[in-house]
């Protein structure tokens, strides 16, 4: 008796659901993904609206938000699954009710209608490569400290695996590897422990899974008087500033705008019953389903050299955002105006 409710069949033809996974490990979701998607949806369909919820890092909570959207009559949901493995049953349930799900950022299991993403393992690989690049010729003799994301977060494992894929062959050794649990303070203390154990010259680079942890790691390194390349991911404003100042070597910039725009286009198309082939031109297989229409984008590495061409060119930040008091001088030398 799943279709007792008469009005659900008609549904809400003006709403798009947007479910984002968390806001703990990075600021991107509410700073970029959500506003970009909202803006694009408005641009494509002026009387459409986006219903957004954040799961705060809980699969159970995301399921509730998913069901709540369906209870509200929403017909298209953009789902950035907190735990892509968990979603099989939900998506199937939704599909049975005629609700279309777009897997966003992470490939949710179950019969999703489309997929738009960066490849998370690819992010890890890029991080590894950027670190090797930052080390340059010394890479082969370099010992590396790795501070990973929270083991409990499924994505952290992907970043870690990707980074290992590159680093394991190209550097001398991973001399210290711990989870920073996505928490800056924890990451900073782990770095402190690593310095104690390895001494100041015992390592030549630090891999940090994201920018937030990188900040605390850099503080520790500075107070111990160590200067080695450190990299993160997310391209947060603070990270760009550190890159300008030369404290951080790189970050990973996932061009959120194109990602968000594609998702919004797909959602509006699905809502209006249009064909989505033009946007999602390729296909991909998930653990459970085959030939899902997909649009895959490439993440980029941001270093001091290409800040202008990436985050500034894309309008993510203005030079004035980056070059505040502390960083004005560094900006000038880096050629940011």
């Amino acid at each position: 008796g799943s279709d007792k409710k008469g009005d659900a069949a008609s549904g809400d033809t003006k709403s798009i659901g947007l479910l984002l996974p968390e806001n703990a490990s990075s600021t991107r979701y509410e700073s970029f993904d959500k506003p970009f998607i909202e803006a694009k949806v408005k641009a494509l369909c002026s009387d459409c609206n986006v219903k957004y919820s954040n799961a705060e890092g809980s699969a159970a909570k995301q399921k509730q938000q998913f069901d709540t959207l369906i209870a509200q009559g929403v017909k298209v949901i953009i789902l950035d699954a907190f735990d892509a493995k968990s979603t099989q049953a939900w998506v199937k349930e939704a599909a049975d009710k005629g609700v279309k799900v777009i897997a966003y950022d992470r490939l949710a299991t179950g019969p999703v209608s489309a997929y738009v993403s960066f490849d998370n393992e690819k992010v890890g690989e890029l991080q590894g490569q950027a670190l090797v690049d930052a080390l340059g010729a010394k890479a082969a003799d370099a010992n590396v400290v790795m501070i990973n994301g929270d083991d409990a977060d499924p994505n952290a494992g992907k970043f870690k695996a990707g980074a290992h894929k590159v680093l394991d062959g190209k550097v001398k050794k991973i001399v210290y590897e711990q989870s920073g649990e996505w928490k800056p303070t924890v990451a900073g203390q782990k770095m402190g422990a690593a310095i104690t154990q390895l001494t100041k010259d015992g390592f030549q680079a630090v891999y940090s899974a994201n920018d937030g942890m990188a900040a605390a790691i850099i503080t520790q390194l500075k107070s111990a008087g160590i200067n080695v390349p450190v990299g993160g991911q997310d391209a947060g404003l603070d990270a760009i500033q550190r890159i300008v100042a030369g404290d951080q070597a790189y970050t990973i910039y996932k061009a959120y705008k194109p990602l968000a725009d594609s998702a919004a286009e797909l959602a509006v198309d699905l809502l209006q019953g249009k064909d989505i082939k033009s946007v999602a031109s390729s296909t991909i297989d998930s653990d459970t389903d085959k030939a899902i229409p997909a649009k895959l984008l490439d993440p980029k590495v941001v270093t001091k050299a290409n800040i202008n061409d990436t985050v500034i060119a894309d309008g993510l930040y203005k030079v004035s955002d980056i070059c505040t008091g502390d960083y004005a001088a560094a900006c000038a030398t880096a050629g940011l105006k």
């Binding site: 007792k4 509730q64 709540t68 735990d83 939900w90």
Partner: protein, 423 residues
């Protein structure tokens, strides 16, 4: 100074009469009942009424804002979702009655879900057996906590904080490198959340409601008869009729709403049954009495010959067992057991539910119904805000304010009455 010699040899003869003349006895009629209700209203002695009012207010406000809150399917969803945290909150009520706290219940829920899922999916064990093993493991964990608390004398806060860490480590270890385990499609675990009794047959809902109402009414009548027979003050029939009427209205409206959607959800039935059974244990057995006694005063309970250590250990076993059950429902709801199940706000929400429902943090006062009321308040706020779709910063601030507002009503009404002491 004037000295009056007004010795008035009062009428009553020794031995003293059973009823004190100063006790304002309620008249055995409906009018008397209403008069007493008004008096209680004025003196702030209202029991659960303020919380229920708060709940109605929350419902009305969210319905006003979103227009979807009172939809049958949204209400059905809420009744399903309260089961997991609600069961944990029932466990919390037991611990709070002792005047203690159990911080480990979230982790225990997580580890139990992980054990059940891994055993049934990865090891191919029979699902029922896997569930039993998971619950048994949780009870053993609870016994361990209880042992360190009651026998070694480590504060429960520290024991269960250590447990919080250790068991979430165990949870990760059980799930292993492969992480998340999906529950078996249409298996026992999956059905915990998704099954509707009789596959949505309306008869089940009506039947369940009518049965509940009838049992309540019959119980009240029987009790009143027995008391009358023993010559004790008993509830008048008119009052029983009124109370049963109120329960009947709530029950039948709920049944009607559920039938508008998918019928009677299994999680609701199980949660309600657990609340009723635990309430019975607390109020009607000597074990329950002992829990209250230990919570009201350890030393007095000990001197009354109660085995305080055993009461404490068993309560921690019960709370861990409840947490395991709750964890299974959460796993069923999200379709999987993962490393984060039970972490985050799960524990706080459950504790808050118990406290909002009226269970004291200082021991000796509360009932398991407060877990139901409290978790309804919390889940209504959460679901209501999910319907509103504002950004998270604002959502946090609103949740905080609504939570406070829901309890302020209760506190203000209680304040008039409060004369002294804690809590």
């Amino acid at each position: 100074m004037t000295t009056e010699q007004t010795t008035t040899p009062a009428a009553d003869a020794a031995p003293a009469p059973a009823v004190d003349p100063r006790l304002l006895v309620r008249e055995a009629s409906l009018a008397g009942y209403l008069a007493e209700f008004k008096r209680k209203m004025k003196s702030g002695d209202l029991g659960s009424v303020p919380v229920v009012l708060g709940l109605i207010l929350i419902g009305a406000i969210f319905q006003g804002i979103t227009g979807d809150f009172l939809n049958a399917d949204n209400l059905t969803n809420i009744t399903k979702w309260i089961a997991g945290p609600g069961l944990i909150a029932v466990g919390i009520v037991f611990v709070l009655l002792l005047g203690e706290i159990d911080l480990s219940l979230g982790s225990v829920a997580g580890v139990s879900a992980a054990i059940a899922a891994v055993l049934s999916v990865r090891s191919g064990m029979n699902e029922w057996l896997a569930i039993l093993v998971a619950i048994a493991a949780a009870i053993a964990i609870g016994a361990l906590h209880g042992f360190f608390f009651a026998k070694i004398g480590v504060p429960a806060f520290v024991v269960t904080l250590a447990g919080l860490l250790a068991w979430s480590g165990l949870q990760m270890a059980v799930l292993g490198d492969k992480g998340t385990v999906n529950v078996i499609n249409d298996g026992v675990l999956a059905n915990l959340d998704t099954y509707f009794l009789g596959d949505g047959d309306v008869a089940f809902t009506w039947g369940f409601a009518v049965l509940g109402i009838a049992l309540f009414g019959a119980g009240q009548v029987l009790d009143s008869r027995r008391r009358n027979a023993a010559g004790l003050l008993a509830r008048p029939m008119s009052e029983i009729a009124l109370r049963t009427g109120v329960i009947a209205v709530i029950g039948l409206v709920a049944a009607y709403m559920l039938n508008q959607d998918r019928g009677l959800p299994l999680p609701l039935v199980i949660f309600l049954s657990v609340v009723v059974i635990t309430d019975f244990v607390l109020r009607r057995t000597s074990y329950g009495r002992q829990i209250f006694a230990v919570g009201g005063g350890v030393e007095a309970a000990r001197r009354a010959g109660i085995n305080v250590a055993w009461v404490r250990i068993s309560v921690f076993m019960i709370s861990a067992g409840m947490a395991a059950l709750g964890g299974l429902f959460i796993a069923s709801q999200q379709g999987s057991a993962d490393k984060l199940l039970g972490s985050g706000n799960v524990l706080m929400n459950s504790i808050a539910a118990a406290v909002i429902g009226g269970t004291s943090l200082f021991g000796g006062r509360g009932k398991t119904w407060s877990a139901l009321l409290g978790i309804l308040v919390i889940q209504s706020i959460i679901t209501g805000l999910d319907l509103v779709h504002v950004n998270q910063a604002v959502q946090y601030m609103i949740t905080g304010s609504v939570l406070l507002a829901a309890v302020v009503l209760d506190s203000v009404s209680r304040k008039t009455q409060k004369s002294s002491g804690r809590g």
